[in-house]
Symmetry: C3
Subunit: 330 residues, 3 copies
């Protein structure tokens, strides 16, 4: 490490500082919106395979993973307002994921959190700018909200929260509880934030990118339900196993963005593979995207071949354990 | 997920559609060739260390991995024509890999598959465009070819099968059997497809890129021969252990492209490392390329230093278990 | 594989050859410096948690990982000259790392190695150009230096050792002992080389990039101290656990480069995560960088939010086992 006073170009710093001030000022001006969300943490039953069967290879059944299908999970549920009475419906393919928070660079995000469970919980976001009280972790005011408690998190969507120069027009960030993070992630307290670049949004108020027709999110994660017993190792995509996640449906020539995320443990090194179609990953063509715990990858696809295709982890044991579902091109 | 009718720019779609039609038409015109291959699946003996010894550190021997060296494997073998009588010779460094299928963007690939084994098998390709019957997996006509059966797969090499804008002039895709994929991959039914960009091919009929002098393929994979017993965990590069893969030979200042692939299980997270030389990985300089199951990476090297160099997995246990060989610069 | 004599464009080769000669000549001219280092290998005590406590969550303590904190390690220590009497002080955040070797593309590096231990050891560098005797591995003259022995390694910093076209202005390479590499890496014989692009150095003699104010290095590695017993699996950043690595301190708006490296075994697949700030990874915005054994990643950050933030592995078990520390923005 070296120190600043050894630098020959110090004279340039005041200029830099003025530039930064102008930059911050320009953000304030162009701030289009405060994106407001009401999210409750709730204790619910979760069924890893609502059909009760293996929808990929029905004749194979669910193996030991079918011994028990329903477990108590903790989830983030989105509501329309601060009465927390009207849950916002989610597409079927979102599975166990909490509500998707969307914003454009320049926006402010406000998340009104209600902890309707019996554990102290929080919401810790990746990517966005916050001070200690809005970190949702590690000792600030929002770091641990007691059962029944409420807290409003304020996050700033600055340039450093948005797509980089080689990223697509929107990128995905994780959010999750972070009081005892490893425990609460396994409970199911997981969601995503999608940030669109300032000049790529569909309209002045809508945070959806205009060069994309459809966005899907896929969380690859092995939930550990029975203290490492194999029957409780649920190898899921968005919390479903053996094809029980439905709704990844699109049509030919749509511009589809896939946001891929993973969370978990040493076994959660996944390789998401689509049959039937490739994706563009920052200029690289592939049909396999590797994701390790907390990786966040946003890749683009324009479906070319109609069909009912597999979408699965290419790690052999994971595929066999049910980490597989279907995506449909009409 | 949002729906198309909420978009303000729908008027642009007909234009897009006409553009796409023209694009498809232009492919038909520029299609240069049908690349035709005759590939049989065969049951053979495979020796993981034909020399019988450790060619990296002879004094260390092969350890438990040397207890048994020859196992029954299933392999893809390339033939000159539909008599399947004349196998196409492969360079020694290809080891257990099936024949390399080559094509240029715009081509059609036809693979005439003969299953000369006692198991139902298939050929499932990554990357290329196919309909359900040509997927080689998951229920289509080519999804499971019985013992003695034949099937011709037709794959379209469209733009989405070729290098992306930031890829080198050729990229690698896997193919493998996909009836019970995890089992058949471990049997050895693995090969690659190399696709060259349309304007980067060496000639109008040759699918080899003209900005490259030599291409090598390296599959990092741990074959599991004895139900997880360590002595049967063969830590291989192209199916050989402890330096028994020979033939990675080049000369100073050649333009060498390395296509790296991995397959397998939770332990198959590999970090391929060359001594003596670095590679360029889409603009990034390194000498270690990480590959997880089904990852496919194509990186470029111009050898600068003559020598007999190691090429090995940098994961400690893997290196110790024989995942190491040599590459030679003359 | 195909051979050169099948190429239609052979006429271009003499031109290429002349170009290469000119290129090599230009390097000789612009070679600014020989970077000279005196490095000894020494046997020392190492304390994984000098504070004796858990500085992240003090109430949780150190668990089984606290049973024993001090072990015998082998380290690379930098000295001012060939008397090896005056060790070069290192910042606290460097922890167990050996001295950082710095050079600019065009330089020569000379490392005068003294093996002050009871084991044969070496220094094997990544990235730089060497012949067999300077490889520090695999049989050359510098491949195994006996206890008490000395050896001077000469490494050439050619273009292929410097940043690629899409890399930042400096990149990190590992060096480590490579007689029995897997054993010596676990002993602690690890350091880094940082190479700055020729036109990006701060001055004609200083190898530090001028577009960066501060550089940090973080090694994520699980040291195995007790033959796989969990209490001996020290989940470290630069050799410290549970917040005992101190000194990652910077100020708002500094241009900070983080060089991330990993080494080790099958469990050493890490995902480094910063709270409070994102990084730019070759044009991609993220706050999680995945590193597998021997991966070397250099990413940039401009701190935006003051605070005392976590920096930890996002793999659940690793985080719980102490792979966590703090970075501070003032």
């Amino acid at each position: 490490m070296y120190t600043k006073n050894s630098y020959p170009f110090l004279w340039s710093y005041p200029i830099l500082f003025v530039f930064l001030l102008l930059l911050v000022a320009s953000f304030s001006v162009q701030a289009r919106d405060t994106q407001e969300y009401w999210i409750a943490a709730e204790k619910t039953d979760w069924n890893y395979a609502p059909s009760g069967g293996n929808l990929i290879n029905p004749e194979n059944g669910l193996g030991v993973y079918g011994n028990t299908l329903v477990y108590t999970k903790y989830r983030y549920i989105g509501y329309t307002d601060n009465s927390y009475s009207q849950p916002i419906p989610q597409p079927e393919w979102m599975g166990i994921l909490g509500p998707t928070i969307r914003a454009v660079v320049g926006d402010i995000i406000k998340v009104h959190f209600l902890n309707n469970t019996d554990l102290p919980l929080s919401i810790h976001p990746h990517g966005v700018m916050y001070n200690k009280d809005n970190e949702g972790a590690d000792g600030g005011a929002g770091g641990s909200i007691p059962p029944g408690g409420r807290y409003t998190y304020t996050w700033v969507v600055d340039q450093d929260a948005g797509p980089g120069p080689d990223d697509p027009s929107s990128i995905v960030w994780l959010y999750h509880s972070h009081v005892m993070a490893e425990h609460e992630i396994n409970l199911g307290l997981i969601g995503t934030i999608i940030i669109t670049a300032a000049n790529k949004a569909r309209s002045s108020r809508g945070p959806v990118p205009r060069d994309v027709d459809q966005e899907f999110i896929a969380l690859y994660m092995i939930f550990n339900e029975e203290n490492d017993e194999e029957s409780g190792m649920k190898h899921t995509i968005n919390g479903r196993i053996f094809g029980n996640l439905t709704g990844f449906e699109t049509t030919l020539r749509q511009r589809v963005r896939w946001h891929l995320i993973a969370l978990g443990n040493e076994v959660d090194n996944h390789t998401a593979h689509w049959h039937g179609q490739t994706v563009l990953d920052r200029g690289h063509r592939t049909d396999v995207i590797e994701i390790m715990p907390a990786n966040m990858r946003s890749v683009d696809m324009i479906p070319r071949s109609p069909g009912n295709w597999l979408f699965h982890c290419h790690v052999n044991d994971h595929m066999m354990a049910g980490m597989s579902t279907r995506w449909i091109v009409k």
